[in-house]
């Protein structure tokens, strides 16, 4: 069992505080780092990955600060950056060999295994510039897994992917989840819902919540309502209340978040992660 401990991390960019005293301990499992744009997700994972130092606080790997571990820490990390473009004139297999040379000590057999694992064996000799977005993400996963890392960090891995590629990505992640810490930074709620054992809700640089999807949803029990409204009143409802979904034509059924029932014919419904996201980050939408 490996442990990643984040203690009182703070990071400031001029007048903007990207991380504000964030502390969390991660063990084996998939952690969804969920938050809106500008919440501090990328800053947190870059600090955890050792790419940038924090202004204060520390990150420890199995109890040892990563600053002391040096290169030994990087032997345990696999990192998939946001929108990896790689080198367009490299072929897939050349890109893998280059990453293997960067990570050091990766046998050729591991390269072919990883290409097979992400189903890119047939495209290995094609230029990366000709790859689709989904293929590039799969190549990125294969590169990140080359050194069999105990800590896998994925920054917005499904951004820009079509639904089929996103499902394929989730299936790939499900196959590799055991025996490692996977930190998945995203603002796409369904991905987190499908994959994460625990969710770290990050907003304004602060860790707002740390719990399973079920636990976070239960916090909103009795605060999520559905009721019909006429199309003419819909703009007013959208302006005044936190509306998480609208369906139907006339009347439309709105799903709102409120502490008490908005109308007499309102029905309480089970909260989902979209509701949780809206409750913490939405305001009036």
């Amino acid at each position: 069992m490996t442990t990643l401990t984040v203690s009182h991390l703070t990071k400031q960019y001029r007048r903007f505080r990207a991380l504000d005293n964030v502390s969390v301990t991660l063990e084996d499992g998939v952690y969804g780092l969920l938050g809106p744009n500008g919440a501090g997700k990328t800053t947190l994972i870059r600090t955890v990955a050792g790419i940038q130092p924090p202004d204060s606080g520390a990150v420890a790997w199995n109890g040892t600060p990563i600053a002391q571990l040096g290169n030994a820490y990087y032997d345990n990390i696999g990192y998939l950056p946001q929108y990896p473009r790689f080198y367009a004139h490299f072929t897939g297999i050349e890109m893998m060999r280059y990453m293997a040379a960067l990570k050091g000590g990766v046998p050729e057999q591991r390269i072919t295994e990883m290409l097979e694992f992400v189903n890119l064996t047939g495209e290995a000799d094609k230029k990366v510039g000709a790859y689709s977005g989904g293929m590039r993400q799969r190549l990125g996963i294969a590169c990140a897994l080359l050194n069999d890392p105990k800590l896998l960090i994925l920054d917005e891995p499904t951004a820009g992917l079509d639904p089929i590629e996103r499902i394929r990505f989730r299936n790939t992640l499900a196959r590799i989840r055991s025996g490692r810490i996977i930190l998945l930074a995203t603002h796409i709620v369904p991905d987190v819902d499908a994959l994460a054992d625990r969710i770290l809700l990050l907003g304004g640089g602060r860790l707002l919540r740390n719990g399973s999807a079920g636990a976070l949803c239960r916090e909103l029990d009795g605060q999520v309502w559905e009721y019909p409204v006429s199309a003419e009143h819909l703009p007013e409802i959208l302006h005044q209340m936190q509306v998480s979904s609208v369906r139907g034509e006339n009347p439309v059924t709105v799903r709102v978040i409120a502490e008490s029932a908005p109308t007499a014919d309102t029905k309480a419904v089970a909260p989902n992660l979209d509701d949780v996201f809206l409750h913490h980050f939405g305001g009036a939408v």
């Binding site: 870059r46 990955a49 050792g50 790419i51 940038q52 130092p53 290169n71 990087y74 032997d75 990390i77 990192y79 950056p81 946001q82 929108y83 990896p84 473009r85 790689f86 080198y87 367009a88 004139h89 490299f90 050349e94 060999r97 280059y98 990453m99 040379a101 960067l102 990570k103 050091g104 590169c143 960090i153």
Partner: protein, 385 residues
């Protein structure tokens, strides 16, 4: 490490645009040489001079001197009389014209006189330097300088008549150097920027060999690319000049060329070409490591390109205008001096009362610059994003 260097070279040179630009620049260089340094193209005097020297080249015997003198006197009669054949007759005249040949024979006579007088002139210079050292009030610097002059110029003699303008023209040729610098800005200036633009900078930062080893690999690949391009362009220049301009007298001493008569060097022409090629390579390595350092310091390709161009222009302006007083010493450490130095005259700097040849100062300074730039590249490249 070898694998990392190989991949860095592939990153730098593997983009499709690079061989296209390289081919364009080589073609542009070839066109420039064929248009402006082609003795067979348009200038009948250049072609005539070449053919005349082909006839006369070799050891300057008394018979040859006499033959040259006779033709020269006949030519003077033509020029002073004012009456001569103006028709174009390449079968009869080397230049195709009587007046052109008259000037050619005058040139050959002047060269013959120069060859005859050279040994005595140089010995007189050497003797004067030795005599000057008898002055007890002379400073250590001037005493050492005179000893250096005496050693450099004594015992020199010219025995052969050679056409060395080809080698001199090749030595003066700068267009390919400008193209080389442009190529290096495009390649070396992109070594780090490409990582950020391709989203690979963070992947490098999280890999064991993505720091110091990658920085070293980038530095080595920049130097290898510089050496390869320098050799390619130099070989192309030599081959094109050899074909279109003709380069003769490679085994002659460099001071046999009139432009290099006062050169303190005692090497042959081909050794001189290799020497200037080596100093040019050092200067280009200094520039390419500077461009690499700019790439490590900046985030995008456009500011790197403009900064590199501005740096080169600034160095050129300093080289052009700092040519008096303290500017001479400052220009000794200007890396562009390594690209432009010609060893045509005796020029020294006073370094702690020792006369040091200016090109030697430039080489020492260039070596220091190269090491400094390398340290900057390694430090900037190791920095985490």
């Amino acid at each position: 490490m070898i694998a990392l260097i190989r991949f860095e070279l592939k990153k730098a040179l593997g983009r499709r645009i690079i061989p296209v630009i390289l081919l364009m620049l080589l073609t542009l260089n070839a066109v420039n040489i064929t248009r402006h340094h082609n003795i067979f193209a348009s200038d009948p005097m250049a072609r005539g001079r070449y053919e005349l020297y082909c006839t006369l080249r070799g050891e300057m015997t008394d018979e040859k001197r006499e033959m040259i003198g006779e033709n020269y006197r006949a030519a003077q009669l033509i020029l002073s009389g004012g009456r001569y054949d103006t028709a174009y007759d390449p079968a009869r005249y080397y230049s195709g014209y009587a007046y052109g040949d008259a000037n050619l024979w005058r040139e050959v006579q002047e060269e013959s006189d120069r060859i005859a007088a050279y040994e005595a002139d140089m010995q007189a210079l050497s003797d004067a330097a030795v005599a000057a050292n008898e002055n007890p009030a002379l400073s250590d610097f001037y005493r050492r300088q005179n000893a250096q002059i005496s050693a450099a110029y004594s015992g020199r003699a010219l025995h052969d008549l050679s056409r060395l303008e080809g080698a001199a023209a090749l030595s003066d040729y700068r267009f390919s150097t400008v193209l080389l610098i442009l190529m290096l800005i495009l390649i070396a200036g992109n070594l780090y920027v490409t990582e950020r633009e391709n989203g690979m900078a963070e992947a490098l930062c999280t890999a064991r060999n993505g720091g110091r080893k990658t920085a070293a690999a980038k530095l080595i690949s920049a130097l290898l690319v510089t050496a390869a391009l320098c050799i390619l362009f130099s070989a192309a220049d030599f081959a094109l000049f050899m074909y279109f301009y003709r380069i003769d007298g490679l085994s002659q001493p460099i001071y046999a060329a009139e432009a290099f008569a006062d050169s303190p060097l005692r090497c042959t022409v081909w050794q001189y070409l290799l020497l200037t090629g080596a100093t040019k390579l050092l200067g280009l390595c200094v520039l390419s490591t500077a461009f690499t350092a700019l790439s490590a310091a900046m985030r995008n390709a456009v500011p790197v390109f403009f900064s590199a161009v501005l740096l080169t222009v600034a160095l050129m302006l300093c080289y052009t205008f700092w040519n008096t007083g303290a500017g001479v010493l400052l220009n000794c450490i200007n890396p562009l001096r390594l690209l432009l130095t010609k060893w045509t005259a005796y020029a020294v700097c006073n370094v702690a009362e020792y006369p040091v040849f200016v090109p030697v100062m430039a080489v020492c300074a260039g070596t220091v610059w190269l090491m400094l730039n390398s340290v900057i590249c390694m430090t900037a490249g190791r920095r985490r994003v």
